[in-house]
Symmetry: C2
Subunit: 360 residues, 2 copies
Amino acid sequence: MENNYCVIMGGGIGSRFWPFSRENYPKQFLDFFGSGRTLLQMTFDRFIKIIPLENIYVVTNVAYEALVKAQLPELPDQQILLEPTRLNTAPCVAYAAYHIRARDPEANIVVAPTDHLIIKEDVFLNDVKKGLEFVKHHDALVTLGIKPSRPETGYGYIQSSEQTQGEFTKVKTFTEKPNLEMAKVFVQSGEFFWNSGLFLWNVNTILKAFERYMPDITLRFNMGLDKFNTPNERKFINEQYPYCRNISVDYGIMEKADNVYMLCVDFGWADVGTWGSLYDMAEKNENGNVIISKGETMLYESERNVIAIDDPKRLTVIQGIDNCIIAESGNVLLICRMGDEQRIKQFVADAQMKYGKEFK
Amino acid sequence: MENNYCVIMGGGIGSRFWPFSRENYPKQFLDFFGSGRTLLQMTFDRFIKIIPLENIYVVTNVAYEALVKAQLPELPDQQILLEPTRLNTAPCVAYAAYHIRARDPEANIVVAPTDHLIIKEDVFLNDVKKGLEFVKHHDALVTLGIKPSRPETGYGYIQSSEQTQGEFTKVKTFTEKPNLEMAKVFVQSGEFFWNSGLFLWNVNTILKAFERYMPDITLRFNMGLDKFNTPNERKFINEQYPYCRNISVDYGIMEKADNVYMLCVDFGWADVGTWGSLYDMAEKNENGNVIISKGETMLYESERNVIAIDDPKRLTVIQGIDNCIIAESGNVLLICRMGDEQRIKQFVADAQMKYGKEFK
């Protein structure tokens, strides 16, 4: 238990949730479900039940330091690891691993994104404990795989093999988001599972994997070996982190490593990565509309929309609109087809090009 | 010229333009076209070219007194006639006629609503002068009829006869908004013209018509004959006006009278009564969208919408939406199919029932 660590990755911008998720206030800091707790807080609340507080880390961008402190006041400052640059997950995972190994060379780590919803918390916690126990005794990189319920094209997939170690199955391949046809084949085959983005490993296993598959990262971080978990770490990271390769741990490590295992889990998981995934999991009214507005809403002949209006004093009247995202937050109103939500990133980029950072 | 008067009717709520037109700030007080002048001001600006300032009246609801004074500071206070109750046009027309006759028993009056756009102003002014000259010499109620360019179902129609007096044609019937089939027949026949809502008459002709077709109004206003155009008028109107019948001058007088003449006009007229009519007349971008937003707007794969966003600091991003009204003003956002805009009145009523006057 005291060797178990949790790393919550909370540095993303979540631009697919624009305009709710904004560069200066990304989705992990929002209370999407009106539960009173933000995505970051919900993630923390889950892990604090099985990981000692002093072993919980949040890695985030330096811009969000104040937000993390405000939302998790119980978390000691030195457990917030600050990225000076916005990079993908590989450097983030490496940084956390170097920091934790300097504290505890026997550490077993669960790495978790903040953008998912977990319904069956007891099942989830039990699976995480199982995973931490497994990586303590096996030189394995573990991922939690979700049995797919539909041919979702928005998720990555994990292909399992027949080789097992108890409940853990050796992974054959990681696959990026497939097209619909391929997704259907995946689901039918029974071999493929959704990649939850939750990983578990012993600190030495993951650092060995970096040495092998991303030696550039290892070389760079080894330059500061004596600085991790000391007052000099921050300066070292600020100087060296920006030079790390901007790729995901999935792509940089998991797809290449030969010691990846999957635990097939069923804890009511859903990705909160996009408006569409939010739509899928949220409560719907009798016409299939998801209304997460703080103000008043009146709907006429409108079906299967997500309506997210942030202004509590606003009345929104919608008539004759189907399958749309209608989202207003701050100084931005977005109306967009549900199926085309992957273009939101483009809208944000276009807005920045035209108007600068004002609406980002 | 000095016997010529103009009565601008500016007391409506314009709820078909909700949420731009609000009960406390109706459409006639809005600068719809971004021209720098409101509909009321544009109407005033037209008439001041041919009617002496001291002969121009605005009839409005008492609630809008301050707005009229603010928007037409040159108009003397005693030329603002205040209705204590919101009623249709018949009592309004009668009130103005009684007031003006007390000042000038020879007055020729042009009555004009504020909710239209007139493109060829010189033609318009010439037609008004012609009409005022005609009613000076003929015991006739005159209406300006527009040659229809399409089978519009949102307008009233005037049926002309073969009987003429110079350029003026005797009117056979007034017809309420027809259905599409009937409108097509109307247009094809060549006999039918759009009712512009612009009327001209000598004050004695219209008051004789009231005596004959709405004697209840005549009886009531005759009780205060000695009060019109005196300091006692206001008190009398406040007491008696609310008891007047709530019907239009079209229905109460024009449809029934046998001395109604039409001048067929072609001064580039368009009704600004609804979002759809605004769409028809406003400038469109290459995809047929009308954008009258004060803030920034970005459109993707969206055609034939009216987008009216009142907040100058707002960015609006719209993707994959066609034929819709997207209007935001004050605390209300409305998204509605263009063809279903006649339902906006219902939305306003529903909102009032649910939330009180907050969003009206």
